[in-house]
């Protein structure tokens, strides 16, 4: 490999937060993903936050079309992609004006000078060149690089058209960023070969652009030194970088293998859940069958059909799609068939903010069906945790014969982090039994109960156990249609008790910090990283603050009420208007204060820290 060792000074820092921002067509997501992987391979802890518009190709050069990718890499354990930026790379004026507020004072601003011209100013609706404002030079370390020109020169020998040549400029930017943060070019060079290897001249041009970017950093006088972030001290093991939706998909496949079942995935494309489909459909050789249905309703119904047949059945969507699935989920619940329903939440209501994150579907998950229809609800706390939650969801679904809802969100779905690769052989199997005629009473009772109040999962093809299921209320035991008043009460209570009993067999809720104190911060789902870091910061500031993060939302662990009562004040941080807070108050009669945000963005650590610390003053 060509030497990529700098001869300039190197400054060692504990962590860097960088954001890459450009037009949606500029390849910023690719750049960000590569920087993340390379940093993870260097042993850093990493956390990412891709942020892109819902439009596939929003009008070029406009503010609406800006696509960004933020990554924090660190020599310490981190849980968020960072609040403020140490470095910001902008490819055009629109990217600069929409992102600059997050760059810290004294931070590095790298601008593609060639993207700053009259045409672009007009598109970005700026009066004059924002780079020329004196405040910029005074506040930040501005480095202007004519990336387009330099890239064209670097790739000129490959005889590509200007359009294609210009597309290489994200690799030039990448090379420069890699130089600045002492990253190895090797993983990206490998990636270029894999991705573009078949088009030789494109691969060669991208490689040349990458190297030219690196060389520019090494030679330009604008940079006196580069930065180095040492490897983080993570738990020993083999790691890889993983995204939330990918981890969910892998967790589902793993659960199918652990239960010796083929996986049937019925779904309808919707942002930000579609990547689960794209991932799963690659693994047909694991016995995965994916079905892209005609609509959300057909998607969930197909999974209920597959579950009736004895498969591991899963559907996924986001809020609007989950709303459409509600009636069928109620059927799955009363049929008492095991099923996983994934909601990768996004900003709502209605179509809302498809590419932005929010946690506003908790009450929908809890109550969004007609009638008394409780179902277990789980929420992963990070991209890697999606793997474990998928397995846990299937374990619970089969144990109590019920649809289980997983509440992920856009933030962890698209975010990534190092994942300690699961040791498949050490994962406990998921025991699933289908009765045979021989082990049942002479008259088969499809709605008889075991110790978990689950009914037998008898599947078509089994002689002697023919039975009919349906959405009309069933008679206890026989499952025959029944309008008997007392029976309806009994069945309603039984279905409720079945879900409630899960609390007896899930781990007691643990907390981070002291077991009692002034403030307990409660959170759930994808806000874990920011909440954990904020509580840590409060603790470092000498405050008696602890953190309780819920992964089980229905039922909650048995000790949740008792934990909350040990604190003077309970605060609930969530990206909605107070949905978990409502549940906690009504279930436990404990008063809670809300920290609520609905801006389509995750919490920053500093805003949480401020909220907690100001509450401590009152």
């Amino acid at each position: 490999m060509v030497a990529t060792t700098t001869s300039k000074a190197i400054r060692s820092v504990s962590g860097i937060t960088v954001r890459l921002a450009g037009d949606s067509g500029d390849g910023m997501q690719l750049l960000g993903t590569q920087l993340t992987n390379t940093s993870a391979l260097a042993g850093n802890d990493v956390a990412t936050f891709p942020d892109f518009p819902a439009e596939i190709r929003a009008p070029r050069g406009t503010r609406a079309g800006v696509s960004g990718f933020q990554v924090q890499f660190s020599s310490e354990e981190i849980f968020t992609p960072g609040d403020t930026l140490d470095a910001l790379v902008v490819m055009n004026p629109a990217a600069m004006v929409t992102n600059l507020t997050d760059l810290r004072k004294g931070g590095i601003l790298i601008a593609n000078e060639d993207g700053f011209n009259d045409k672009e100013f007009k598109l970005a609706k700026v009066e004059a060149n924002p780079l020329d404002a004196s405040v910029i030079e005074e506040t930040y370390r501005l480095i202007k690089v004519p990336m387009t020109q330099l890239t064209r020169t670097a790739v000129s020998e490959f005889g590509l058209g200007v359009k294609i040549a210009d597309r290489c400029k994200n690799f030039f930017a990448m090379g420069l960023v890699y130089w600045l943060f002492g990253r190895s070019l090797d993983p990206t060079l490998r990636f270029i070969q894999e991705k573009f290897g078949k088009k030789e001249e494109v691969a060669a041009a991208n490689e040349a652009a990458l190297r030219a970017g690196w060389a520019y950093g090494e030679t330009t006088e604008a940079f006196g030194e580069s930065y180095q972030v040492e490897a983080a001290e993570l738990e020993p093991g083999t790691y890889r970088n993983i995204m939330g939706n990918q981890a969910l998909a892998w967790g589902l496949i793993t659960a199918s293998k652990l239960s010796d079942k083929d996986l049937f995935y019925g779904t309808y494309p919707i942002t930000p859940a579609s990547d689960i489909l794209h991932e799963l459909t690659k693994y047909k050789n694991f016995g995965v069958r994916t079905f892209q249905a005609e609509d959300e309703i057909a998607a969930v119904c197909s999974t209920i059909g597959a579950a009736f047949g004895g498969s591991m059945a899963v559907t996924a969507s986001s809020g609007p799609g989950i709303a459409l699935k509600a009636e069928a989920m109620g059927l799955g619940m009363i049929l008492e068939l095991p099923l996983i329903v994934i909601n990768v939440q996004r900003g709502g209501p209605s179509t809302g903010l498809p590419t932005k994150t929010e946690q506003s579907d908790l009450l929908q998950a809890m109550f969004g069906r007609n009638g008394e229809s409780p179902i277990p609800v789980l929420a992963p706390c990070s991209p890697g945790d999606c793997f474990d939650i998928a397995i846990e969801a299937w374990r619970l679904a089969t144990q109590c014969m019920a649809p289980v809802m997983i509440l992920s969100d856009g933030y962890i779905a698209n975010g990534s982090e190092p994942w300690q690769i699961a040791d498949v052989n050490s994962l406990p199997p998921i025991q699933v039994d289908h009765p045979e005629a021989g082990d049942q009473p002479e008259t088969f009772l499809p709605y008889s109960r075991d110790e978990f109040l689950a009914r037998p999962w008898a599947i078509p093809g089994t002689p002697g156990l023919m039975h009919r299921v349906g959405g009309l209320e069933k008679e206890d035991g026989t499952g025959n249609v029944s309008y008997d008043p007392a029976n309806h009460q009994l069945m309603t209570e039984t279905r409720q008790a079945k879900v409630a009993k899960i609390a007896e067999r899930i781990p007691a809720q643990d907390i981070f910090g002291e077991q009692s104190g002034d403030v307990l911060l409660v959170s759930w789902g994808g806000t874990y990283g920011a909440c954990h870091t904020a509580v840590k910061r409060c603790q470092e500031n000498g405050h008696q603050v602890s953190h309780m993060h819920l992964r089980y939302l229905n039922p909650m662990p048995a000790n949740v009420g008792e934990v909350m009562r040990r604190f003077k004040k309970v605060m609930v941080a969530e990206l909605n208007q107070g949905q978990l807070r409502m549940l906690l108050r009504s279930d436990y009669l404990v008063d809670c204060e809300g920290i609520n945000k609905v801006q389509g963005k995750p919490f920053t650590v500093s805003e949480l820290t401020e909220s907690i610390e100001s509450a401590l003053q009152t």
Partner: protein
């Protein structure tokens, strides 16, 4: 292997049938129970899936596996089941409201996918279970509880919809024409791919006699054509026939035209144009066809293909290995 010989009564569940006395559904249930033993297929491998409506109570009365699902969605449940358990024989029981109003989307998509299931569409041209509102097959001007001044909707023709959705098997029969009904159901069961059988079913409470022209024996001969593959289209005891003129069909007196002029029915023709013309013939202008309009064999089924892809992937890549998957690509060690 000696399979037990089953009788119609073996397919009856222990539940009391609760349709209105005189309902056409009884006849369809009876014919289903009668033909199933002839198919020689194990009861435990037979599944009935229905939506919502009077007809959709059907699975409760069959001693097989069954699911009474939600309104309009039966084809979607069937798709999940049949895709994962292709060895099962799956029947979808639906009505005109269930399949053409609330379930219209699923109805066309199951047909175009050619999932190997049999759909029996009970068409009574009315909403029965909700007590008498007009349905998507109710005739224009029909006065019902929800259309006191007459319906202003143009009705759908289930068979035309099915043909437009690329269905590979399309047929029609009549509740009161029991022998024909039984034979048609058998043909549907034998077809590989989605079979659609529309059954004219009398709702004697809310739409009595709406299709009497076809149901009553006396009127049937003049108003109904029984399609027979390879045979000319004749009705009215052979006195009348159908001739193709340009792009439309017309009724002729058989003694006034040469026999060669009559249209010969070809259910196996892949081009559905003439079958579509047959589907659009409607009383009182034309006789209405019953029997198999279309039966195109050899088209791959959805369930067959989804499973083939799994087999192919296993052949090409080998049985999936989780450890291999997790450790592929960029990984690093922390010690």
């Amino acid at each position: 292997m000696n399979l037990p010989v089953l009788k119609a009564s073996d397919f009856a569940s222990d539940q009391d049938v609760r349709w209105c006395p005189g309902c056409g559904d009884y006849s369809i249930l009876a014919q289903m129970k009668k033909i199933l033993p002839d198919l020689g297929f194990p009861r435990e491998k037979t599944v009935f899936i229905s939506g919502i409506g009077c007809s959709s109570r059907f699975p409760y009365y069959m001693n097989t596996y069954g699911m009474h699902s939600i309104h309009g969605r039966a084809p979607a449940f069937a798709t999940g089941l049949k895709s994962t358990r292709p060895e099962l024989m799956v029947w979808v029981i639906t009505g005109d409201g269930d399949s053409l109003s609330i379930g219209g989307n699923h109805f066309i998509h199951v047909l175009r996918r050619n999932l190997d299931v049999n759909i029996v569409l009970f068409n009574n041209r009315i909403y029965g279970l909700t007590k008498g509102q007009y349905s998507p097959t109710s005739v224009e001007g029909q006065v019902t509880k929800s259309t006191p001044m007459g319906s202003i909707d143009h009705p759908l023709q289930p068979l035309s919809v099915a043909l437009a959705a690329e269905a590979t098997f399309v047929a029609r029969s009549i509740d009161a024409h029991v022998k024909h009904l039984g034979e048609t159901l058998k043909r549907a069961a034998a077809h590989k791919g989605t079979s659609l059988v529309e059954v004219y079913q009398n709702c004697n409470v809310f739409n009595d006699g709406a299709m009497a022209y076809a149901q009553e024996k006396k009127q049937r001969a003049d108003n109904v054509i029984e399609l027979v593959h390879g045979k000319p289209l004749v009705f009215a005891n052979g006195t009348k026939g159908i001739r193709l003129v340009g792009t439309h069909l017309e009724v002729v007196n058989t003694d006034e035209v040469p026999a060669d002029d009559l249209l010969i029915h070809d259910e196996a023709e892949p081009n559905p144009s003439i079958q579509m013309m047959l589907a659009r013939m409607s009383y009182p202008d034309m006789p209405e066809p019953i029997g198999v309009l279309r039966a195109v064999e050899g088209i791959p089924t959805y369930d067959e293909q989804i499973n083939q892809q799994v087999d192919t992937a296993k052949e090409l890549k080998g049985e999936g290995d989780l450890n291999q998957l997790f450790n592929a690509g960029d990984t690093w060690q922390v010690s």
